[in-house]
């Protein structure tokens, strides 16, 4: 089993190759990575299969990606998607 290293909000975390970005964050104890634009409510993983768009985050500079659908890759830089 190979592991990869990703960076989330400046924190380095190890993940298993084959995990989704959302799974890697979940396994690292991160449960929310975005806030809503009105009430600043925390959002993370909800539907887990790409329907709800709750789990949006910025991946390697590309904003509003669904963390539940994107597989982790070594060196990935993850960050919050602001504004929505």
């Amino acid at each position: 089993m190979s592991t990869v290293t990703v960076t989330f909000a400046g924190r380095t975390m190890r993940a298993r190759d084959g995990q989704s970005v959302a799974a890697a964050l979940t396994a690292a104890g991160v449960r929310s990575w975005r806030t809503t634009r009105r009430g600043a409510r925390p959002r993370g993983l909800f539907c887990g299969i790409g329907a709800c768009f709750d789990c949006l985050l910025t991946i390697d500079g590309r904003p509003a990606q669904r963390a539940c659908l994107v597989p982790v890759r070594d060196g990935m830089i993850l960050g919050e998607t602001g504004g929505d």
């Binding site: 089993m1 190979s2 298993r16 190759d17 084959g18 995990q19 989704s20 959302a22 799974a23 890697a24 979940t26 396994a27 449960r31 929310s32 809503t36 009105r38 009430g39 409510r41 925390p42 959002r43 993370g44 993983l45 909800f46 539907c47 887990g48 299969i49 790409g50 329907a51 709800c52 768009f53 709750d54 949006l56 991946i59 390697d60 590309r62 990606q65 669904r66 539940c68 659908l69 994107v70 597989p71 890759r73 929505d84």
Partner: protein, 480 residues
């Protein structure tokens, strides 16, 4: 140049994968378009090769799936199936041929052709968990039951330590069993309905004896892991400030009214909700296919005995035609493809046995829907500040205001007044519950029209604005 195929199969879950293989075996040129990296859909989930686990664990019908994958591979290598993985149909233009405007399923996925064309369509879009809002359901740590299952089987990741799994329907069982088998503690499985409802469906349930054996298998797992199964119990409130810390569980009467004095708090860090499933109908609505309200109150597409929709040259199979599970989806996919092959080749379709098996599983599905309805009084669990729409953060009070003070009598008007269902998910998560809420508040019935008004989406997936701008210029399809 746009590549043109005899048939486009959209979705590579049990229905679409089976349809593609049978269409290719019948000699048709097939394009198979699927959002996943590999075939199987939400039902047959793979673990990544590097996760080092037995792919068969947690999967049903694995041998059938392996055979379908082998067949697909052979058709791809022979050039009979053009398989576009990690691709989504963002826009489906009706006409002859049908034009599918594609987009990579995720930002990191490889480029896909902008447009593919097809003479016939077999649409197998699948579905996702149906949800009902309750206070606190938007806290991190609340997930769809299918999302928990996806994490467990797709990524081998446990999303919490202590889980409450709540809602209704047989799908709660494998999710709870999977969570416990992976090392989590299941505090309770809350099934809103009484298992006795199945007794009234015995004649219909008997059409699929294998399903009963499957359920017994899960209950054996429950006994081994000491999982408390609580019938006629609902989760009325998720507790916590910034994430799930617990939940309030309560006994309910057959209509879903909380029995006074039965509420109790439990500690939990994960809540999984599943109220059955609802199909993804964007593409079917885009071509104008007629819909109907299924026995479970979900909007589904109407099909005839050959899986044909009301639109010529458009067939549908799987959850889109009525939620009924993977075994039914496979049979429908096969029938859709074989009836198309018969049409295209002029050869007779011999499918009596296949149709009979489909009828039996549909009968079973009707029994399941009758045994696991959404309780009529579910809206009693709501508070004024419960969010109906998670994206646009629209509370129940706003919906009540729209119907009570502003005169709205249908979900579409409520949407324009409150922005419910107008955010990122475009109502995929809340449209069903909102339609039920509006029907309840206006003393109306839940109708297919009401559901359809908030289920139509111009784009089935987000499309870059530059692409939208170019849509006016029609492309000229050429034969592949």
């Amino acid at each position: 140049m746009t590549e043109r195929f005899q048939v486009a199969v959209v979705g590579a879950g049990p229905a679409g994968l089976t349809a593609a293989v049978h269409a290719a075996a019948g000699g048709l040129s097939v394009v198979l378009i699927d959002a996943g990296a590999r075939p199987g859909g939400q039902y047959w989930r793979h673990r990544g090769p590097a996760l080092g686990t037995d792919e068969r664990a947690g999967h049903h019908d694995w041998r059938a799936f392996a055979a379908l994958c082998d067949a697909l591979q052979a058709h791809v290598e022979a050039g009979r199936v053009h398989y576009l993985a990690r691709a989504q149909v963002a826009l489906l233009q009706p006409g002859q041929p049908f034009l599918m405007h594609l987009t990579p399923a995720t930002g990191d996925a490889p480029a896909v052709p902008d447009v593919v064309a097809a003479t016939d369509l077999i649409l197998c879009p699948g579905g996702y968990d149906r949800q009902l809002p309750v206070p606190g359901w938007d806290l991190p740590g609340v997930m769809a039951a299918g999302g928990v299952q996806a994490l467990l089987t797709g990524s081998r990741t446990l999303p919490g330590k202590r889980a409450v799994i709540a809602g209704t329907g047989p799908f709660l069982l494998p999710v709870a069993a999977g969570f416990a088998a992976a090392g989590g503690e299941v505090v309770a499985v809350c099934e809103a309905n009484s298992p006795l409802r199945w007794a009234r469906q015995a004649h219909r349930a008997a059409q699929a004896p294998g399903k009963g054996r499957e359920a017994l298998g899960y209950l054996t797992t429950f006994a081994r892991h000491k999982i408390p199964y609580r019938p006629r119990t609902v989760l009325t409130r998720v507790l916590g400030d910034s994430e799930v810390g617990g939940a309030v569980l309560a006994k309910v009467d057959p209509t879903g009214r909380v029995v006074p004095g039965t509420s109790r708090e439990v500690e939990a860090d994960l809540v999984a909700f599943g109220w059955g499933f609802t199909p993804s109908l964007e593409l079917l609505l885009a071509v104008g296919a007629k819909t109907r309200l299924d026995a479970d109150g979900s909007l589904v597409v109407a099909v005839d005995a050959d899986q044909a929709t009301s639109v010529p040259r458009v067939r549908a199979a799987g959850e889109a035609t009525g939620v009924g599970g993977a075994a039914l989806a496979r049979l429908e996919g096969e029938l859709a493809a074989r009836s198309l092959v018969a049409d295209a080749t002029g050869k007779p379709l011999r499918a009596r046995a296949l149709r009979r098996r489909i009828r039996r599983l549909r009968t079973f599905a009707q029994a399941m829907h009758a045994a696991h309805p959404i309780p009529a009084s579910w809206a009693q669990w709501l508070t004024d500040d419960t969010l109906v729409c998670r994206c646009e953060e629209v509370p129940v009070a706003a919906v009540r205001n729209a119907t009570g003070n502003l005169g709205a009598t249908d979900p579409r008007t409520v949407r324009s007044l409150t922005r419910v269902g107008m955010g990122w998910c475009q109502g995929r998560i809340c449209a069903s519950a909102c339609a039920r809420l509006v029907a309840g508040l206006t003393n109306g019935a839940l109708t297919a029209d009401a559901l359809q008004a908030t289920s139509s989406r111009a784009f089935a997936a987000p499309l870059e604005l530059s692409r939208v701008a170019r849509l006016d210029a029609p492309s000229t399809p050429e034969d592949a």
